[in-house]
Every structure is written in C-alpha cells, then in structure tokens.
C-alpha cells in the first residue's frame, strides 16, 4: 500500500498523530527552554519535532490537518497517545514509512519516560 492509497480513516488517524506530536513538541521545547541552556531535553524535543515532520510527510498532500488541539500538558502522555494510534493502523501490509514512524515514536516514548526526559 502506498501513501496515496491510504484510506480516509488511516489518513485521519495519521493527521491526529501529527497534531499530537506537534503539541508534544511544543511542550517539550517549553520544558527544555525552562531548564536552561544546558538542558539535554533539547534532544527529546528535537526528536519529537522530527517525528511530527515525518508524520506530515506520510500524509498525502491533499490531507487536511485541521482538528482539535490535543488536550494535556505532558509530552510523554501525548507521545504515548500517538504511539497508541499508530499501533492501530500499523497492521501487516502498512506502508514502510508508516512503520518507520511508529518505530520512531515508540523510541521517543521510551526516551520521554526514562531519566531526565521523564
């Protein structure tokens, strides 16, 4: 299955993932900036930015991103929600790019829940 052949439900789900990741990135940057110039949280925030960008890249060009702003002020929880959504659509035969996004988000969930990222 190619990107352009994704059905409407999958497209809607990935758009939701993109919104979750964007909001998670905002929160991560706020936390990183608040922690000062030596904060290692920059790495996590940059990673979430990268995942959000990849989610946008997975979507077909015509896809709309409008939708409700995700509720919550915890980047780790938003990442976990994004991971959950991706699990639902990453079934056998899913595009490899989508599977790659899922792997990236899963890694970020782990980063956000360990050490200084927690």
């Amino acid at each position: 299955m190619g990107m352009e052949q994704m059905d409407a439900e999958v497209v809607e789900t990935v758009a939701g993932v993109a919104r979750l990741l964007r909001r998670a990135a905002e929160l991560a940057w706020m936390r990183s900036d608040a922690a000062g110039p030596r904060s290692w949280r920059q790495l996590l925030a940059l990673g979430i930015d990268s995942a959000a960008d990849e989610a946008l890249g997975v979507l077909p060009r015509r896809a709309r991103l409008d939708g409700p702003t995700p509720v919550g002020d915890n980047a780790a929880e938003l990442l976990a929600s994004a991971d959950e959504l991706l699990r639902r659509i990453c079934v056998v035969g899913a595009p490899s790019r989508l599977l790659g996004l899922r792997a990236l988000v899963a890694e970020l969930v782990w980063e956000a829940n360990t050490g200084a990222g927690a």
Partner: protein, 490 residues
Amino acid sequence: MPARDRHTIGELLADSDALARETLLDATPENAPAMVRSWNQLVASAVHLWAALASGPDSMSGSDPMERLRAVGQAIGRSVRAGHWPGHGPTDDHLSEISDNLSRARHLIERHDRPSHTANTDRHAHTPDIHGQVMHTLYVAAHGTAVALGAYVEELQHRLKVGTRRRQPMAERPTILEITEAQGMIARFGGFEQLAAAYMFGQPLRSGDPGQLRAAAPATRLETALAAWEVQAHRTLAAYPDSADLVWVARVQALIASTTRIVTEAAATTGHIDPDLLQRLAPTLEANQVAWSRLAKRWGELTSPASRTDPAVVAAASEVRAAIAATATNQNGWATPDQLASRVDLGNTVKTLHLSMIASVDIAHVARDTAADHPGLTATARIIGMRAQGEAEIAIEQGETRYGGVRWTTPRQISANEVIPLPEPARRGLINLTEDVIATTKQSVAAAAQLDPSGVTRSVRSGPEARRGRLVERRQITHPPGPWPKGPRR
C-alpha cells in the same frame, strides 16, 4: 577548451600561492570590498580543480573536504549578489588571477586525464601535494582578505570618528551599518580561514556531503554529522527556505552549543584541556545557546499549519541529534565526563565541536540575510500585528521616524487571521535576534582561540588588538611551509 597552456600544473599552483601571499603583503583597505566580491569565483575554481583531482591519501573513500568551504564561499557570493556589503562593484585582480590559474590547472588535468588515472606515477605521487597547495592558497588568500577587511574597518572607524568630531555632513561619513557589515565579513573570512587551516594542520575535514553520512565509520559519526549539517544548512537557507526550516537550523545550532559546553567541561575535568579555557568558554556557549533558542522561537511564531520543512534539513538534523545522543548522553541525561572520555578522544572532539562553532558564524550570517531579504516570508496577521507593533515601538524609541502612526495589519486581516507578508519591523526583530546570535558565536570562537586548528592564536574580532595579532601572523605566514613545490604538510 582554452588554447594550449604553456605552464605546468605545478607552475600555475606555485603562481597562485605566490599571488595569495601578495594579497597578504599588499592587503590595503581599498582592496577589501573587491576581494570580497571575487571570493566566490575563487572558491568555485578551487572546488572544480579539487574535483578534477583524485582523492587525497588521508581522506575517506569518496569524501570531499572542500564541500564545507564551497558552502561558505557560495553563501558569501549570494550575500554580495543580494546587495549586502560590499554590494556590486569591481573585483580584485589578484584573486581573479588566482581563480584563472586554478581553472587553467583544472583544464590541464582534464586534458591529460586525472593524475591518478595516468601511468605517470610521479604525477600520482604529487596529487596529495596538489590538494595541499590548493588548500594553502585558499587559506592564505582568506587570511589576506581578512587582513584587508580589518584595515578597511579601522579606516572607516577612523573616518567616522574624525567626521563626527569635525561635524561633517552625515552623507560624508561612513555609516555604522557599513562598519558592522564589514566586521561581519571579517568573521566569515576568519571562519573560512580556520576551516581551511583544519585541513592543513592535521585535522582533515570530513565530507560535507549529507549523502555520505551512512558510509562514515562509527568513530567519526559526530564529526561527519556536523560537517554534513553545515553544508545542508547552507543549502536549505540558499533555496528560499520556509520559516520552519529556520526553526530547525536554530534549534540544531542551539543543541550544538549545549553539546560543546558539555564536552568541553568533560575535557577540562579529565585534563584534556586547560580548565581556564572552560571558564572563558562556558558563559559564551550558554549565551550562544540562549540566543539561538530565542531566534528559533521567533521563527517558530512565523510558521503556519501549511509550513513544510525541507526533508533534507530534517534528515541532517536528525543525524546530528542521533550522533550527539550516541556520543554524549546516557539514560539519565548527559553522559558523565568519565563516560565521555571512554567513548571518544575528548581533546579531538572538543576541536571538532569548536570547528563547528567556527562554521556556524557563517550560518548565522546567512540566517540574517534570509531575515533581511527573503521575499516570501509571511506570517499570520495576529502574530504580525503583535510582533511588528512591538518592534516598531522599540525602533521608534531608538529614533526611527518612519514607523510612527503606521498600521501593520488591517482589521479584516486580523479578523480572518490571514497569512500576510512580513513587514519591515517584524523583519527587524528577526535581524536583531540574529545579531545576538552572531555576537555570541563570535565570542565563543574568540574564547576558544587556543583550540584553533592552525595553532596560531587568532581572533574574529576587528580593531587595533586583532589587527596587531594579524600583523604578527602576517610575518609568520609568509614563510613557506616547506620547500616548494612540496607544499604544506598535513
């Protein structure tokens, strides 16, 4: 194809190096603007000659250490073409002649096939020297241009001082803007010179081609990722970037500043560098990180849901992030000094990161040019209303009269939150924030001058102190590095 050249490749290169030395000896203020205008052409000729040669003996397979220098040369050329100082005008005869020599050398090589592809083992043996000679010529010419620029700035400052004292009409005095822009150019040439020096004085530059990232050995991952990042940042900024691209550039640069701070601290703690260096460098790196972060936030305000980043810049940024994570972190955050020391050669890694700071001087200048010139910059009306008004009020307080009573958005635009072109005051805010980035980057580079790959203490500052330092260097550098035509050793 030009007419048959009576000179040999060696003669052309020797003549080029001699001409570069002459630029140093004859560096006068009036030459400086023309030298800047000629720079991109000179670098382009060197790049083409370099490409016509076989790979150097110490380079990774297929690597191209000239790529970073090309990115800086092209960025300077674009800046001049866009009308920034020194703007359009005559070019420099010396540098043009060097450029011509290098092009002729390339034609000779191409006519006789590449040196490594011939059966002439003698010429093959000299290929590394040709690389060294080309790099040395660029190094000396960059230094000569920086010296001429230093003299130019001094003269402008003197004329401004005298003009102010004698109350000359404003039109007859140099402007502060011209002095600032020429000082910025000194920093860019200083960076170029040090990147060339890194190749010549024993720290070969890694390939700047992002496509070669995956081929890099694990030990060089950080160095390779940083080199590729610099080139990609230049490429993306050169191609009408989206605001989102600027956010990426600024965020990655902030991360590099933080990483440099952490690794430098580890190197000082474990005795790899002088602890005094950390005392000088740490505050400037933190200020630099903060400046880049502020700039990222401001660019971030200008992004819209329709913003799309250049996939290549995201890929290069992701590799920098991954390389830093693998090198300098553990499960709890930044790695401890002992962990870092067990993973990498801290002395060399500090130098690598310092070189990246040097290169970021030019990236910051390109970001400033983008803020000033990019015709496609837009933002939503509400953001523009807020930012333009705020910046306009600051400018009015500083004596700017053009902004008084100007409305930057219409009620209709605000109501619909339309995406509209960025007005001048909002650009001015971006430029001011980028100036902070440039200033703090230069402070970091100056504070870490003892890590200079050439081993010669230098500074990117202008003014009498820096000028004296350069005059000492001028005497040092005019001595050939070895018996000609052997060229500089690596």
